[in-house]
Amino acid sequence: MATVALQNISKSFDDTQVLNNINLSIEDREFIVFVGPSGCGKTTLLRIIAGLEEASEGQIIIDGEDVSSAHPVDRGISMVFQSYALYPHLSVFENIAFPLRVAKVPEAELNQRVEHAANILQLTNRLQHKPGQLSGGQRQRVAIGRSIVRNPKVFLFDEPLSNLDAALRGDMRVELASLHQDLNATMIYVTHDQVEAMTMADKIVVINGGNVEQFGTPMELYHHPETQFVAGFIGQPNMNFISSTRTASTATNCSIKADGIGALTLPVSSCVGKEGDSLCLGIRPEDLSLTSSGQGFEMQVKVLERLGGSAIAYGTINSQVSGEQSFKAVLPGDVQVSPGQHIHLQVNPDKCHLFTSQGDAMHRLKAEV
C-alpha cells in the first residue's frame, strides 16, 4: 500500500513552536502509534499528515510522492476523528457512503462497497439507523467504516478510543489490530495512552514538547529507552527514578551509589564522566523481587493494589536527600503484605536503567533485546 516519510516537519502557531524538525520514515503496512502527553504536538502532526493543517516547514512524502500541499483525497489518506464526526442527520449507510457520494461512484458499486465495509465491521443490521441510535462502539465502527470504504493508502486515527469505556476500549483495541491485519494498510494512530501504544503498534513514536523522543518497536522502547522521558512514559506502572552518584566506571560497567538503595554496579556502556557525577537510576516496578529482611533495601508499603495475578505496592523508601521517596513495586498476586508494613526488595543490576543528569540513557549491555 504505502510508505510515509516526514522530512524536517516544523509547525508554529503565531510565536509558539508546536513541532520541531520532525523526521520519520514509515514502512509499508506498518501500524505506527504517536504517543505523548497532551499538548505534545502529536495530533497536530497527524493533522499535517492528513492535510488539515499546513506544515510551516518540511515535506510529506507518501509513496515517494511529495504531497505537502495536496488535498487529503489526493494524498490517499482517510481519517477517523476523536469525536467520530458522524453526520447526525444521515443514516449509517449514508455516513459510510459519504466519501463515495462525493466521488460520484455509481449506485451499484456504491451499494456493494458500503455493504462490504458494513460486513467487515458487523454493521449490516444497523445500516438504516441514525448515529444517535447507536452505542459508542458502534459509532466508532461507523467512523472506521467511512474511512475504509474509500480504500485509502494510509489510515489516520486521532485518539479514536478515548471516548469509550474501559471494557469497550479493550475490545476495540483487538478489533483494530485485526482490522489492520485484514486490510494490510499503513496506519498511523495517535493516543496519549501508552497501553494502547504498546499493545497495538508495530512501531511507536514517542513525542514530547514537539520533538520525537524515540522511534522504535514497543520492546525496543521498553528495554532501551533513549531518554528518561521515554523510560518514564512507557511501561505500566511507570519506572521508579532514584537519584544516584557515580562511584566508579569502566568501559562496560558503572558503579553507583543509589539514594535509599545502596551500591550497585550496572552493566552499561558509554558511562563516561567522573566520580561524584549525579546520575539517575531507573528501576521498573516489575523488575523487583521480595527478599528476606537484612538483605536488599527496605520499602514501606502505603497502598497495595491487588490485580489478581500480581499486586502493585505503592509506598516510600528512605532517602538521604529528601527523607523519603515514593516507590512502586510489582509483587506476586497473593503476597502477604498489608499497608503500613515494611518489605525488603532486591533488584538485579542487569535490569536497571541509568540516565545522565541531562536525561540521556546509557546503553544497557545485558538487556533482553
Binding site: 481519517m79 476523528f81 447526525p88 459519504f98 466519501p99 467511512r146 474509500r150
Partner: protein
C-alpha cells in the same frame, strides 16, 4: 439546580406576571370585543365588557366596505414572504462566512451591522426615498421588499452565526478529508443540521417584515394595488366617521397569518432546537 420559593415569593412572582400579561394582552382583548360590537354601541356608557348584541356582522361587512381587502391581505403575505426569502439568501452565506472564516475587517463589519440596527427605520426614510427614486423603484413591490430585507439581514446574520458556530468543526473537517468541497459540505452537512436555526431566522424575518411593511408602504408606495393590509386598513377611516368595529375585524384577520405561523412553528421550534443539539 433546585429553586424553592416561599409562598410569599410565589405570590409576588405571579402578581408580576399577571400585571405584565394584562398590559400585553388587554389591547388584543379589547380589539376582539370591539370587532364584535355594533358600531353604534362602541362608545356606550357605562362600559359593558360583554353584551347580548355582539355578532360577527363586522367580519362579513369588511369585504363590502373595502373591496380590495383580499388583495391587501395577499400583498401583506407576499411582501413578507419575499422579504424573508431575500433575507435568507443573504443571511445564510454571510452567517456561514462569519462563523467559519477569519478575514480582515470581520469584527468591524459585524459591529457596523449592529450599528445599522440602532437606527430606527424612520430615521432613514428620506435617504431611502431618494435612493429608491433614483433606482426607479418607487411604487413597486420592490420598494417595500428591499428596505425590509436590508433591515432584517444584520440580526439574521447574528442569529444564524451563533447557531452555526455550535455545529462541530470536525464534521466539516471529516467532509473535507473525504473530498467534499465547501459548498457540498454546506449543502449536505451544515444546512441540514442548521434547520432549526434557519427556521428561527426565517420566522424572525417573516414577523419582522410583516410588522415593518406599514412604514415603507405609506412612504414608498402610492399604488393601492400594492398596498399591504396595515396600510389598507386606512380605508376604514372615512370622511365622516371611522368604522372602528370593521377596522378591528380586519386587523384581527391581518394578525391571523402571523399568529398561525407562530403557533404552528413554536412547537416545531422547541422540538427542533433540542433535536439539533449535535452530540459529538
Amino acid at each position: 439546580m433546585i429553586d424553592k420559593y416561599s409562598a410569599l415569593e410565589k405570590l409576588g412572582l405571579y402578581t408580576a406576571i399577571g400585571i405584565f400579561l394584562t398590559f400585553m394582552l388587554l389591547p388584543f382583548v379589547e380589539m376582539l370585543l370591539a370587532s364584535l360590537r355594533p358600531l353604534t354601541h362602541l362608545f356606550r356608557s357605562p362600559y359593558q365588557f360583554w353584551s347580548d348584541d355582539m355578532s360577527l356582522q363586522a367580519y362579513s361587512d369588511i369585504w363590502v366596505t373595502v373591496p380590495k381587502l383580499p388583495r391587501y391581505i395577499f400583498n401583506s403575505v407576499f411582501l413578507a414572504s419575499m422579504t424573508t426569502l431575500i433575507c435568507m439568501v443573504f443571511v445564510v452565506p454571510a452567517a456561514y462566512a462569519y462563523a467559519r472564516f477569519q478575514f480582515r475587517g470581520k469584527a468591524v463589519s459585524l459591529a457596523l451591522f449592529l450599528a445599522v440596527n440602532m437606527f430606527a427605520g424612520a430615521v432613514l426614510l428620506i435617504p431611502l426615498y431618494k435612493l429608491l427614486r433614483g433606482m426607479g423603484l418607487l411604487n413597486t413591490y420592490w420598494a417595500m421588499i428591499i428596505p425590509g430585507a436590508a433591515f432584517l439581514v444584520p440580526t439574521g446574520i447574528y442569529l444564524l452565526k451563533s447557531f452555526l458556530e455550535k455545529i462541530p468543526k470536525e464534521l466539516e473537517e471529516a467532509a473535507f478529508v473525504d473530498g467534499a468541497s465547501r459548498l457540498y459540505t454546506l449543502r449536505r452537512v451544515i444546512l441540514p443540521l442548521a434547520v432549526p436555526g434557519l427556521i428561527v431566522v426565517g420566522v424572525y424575518s417573516f414577523i419582522g417584515a410583516y410588522a415593518q411593511q406599514f412604514l415603507f408602504a405609506i412612504t414608498f408606495n402610492q399604488k393601492r394595488d400594492y398596498m399591504p393590509l396595515p396600510a389598507g386598513i386606512f380605508e376604514f377611516i372615512g370622511y365622516q366617521e371611522v368604522i372602528w368595529n370593521q377596522m378591528m375585524a380586519a386587523s384581527i384577520i391581518g394578525i391571523l397569518p402571523v399568529l398561525f405561523i407562530f403557533l404552528f412553528l413554536q412547537k416545531f421550534l422547541m422540538a427542533g432546537l433540542t433535536a439539533g443539539a449535535v452530540k459529538s
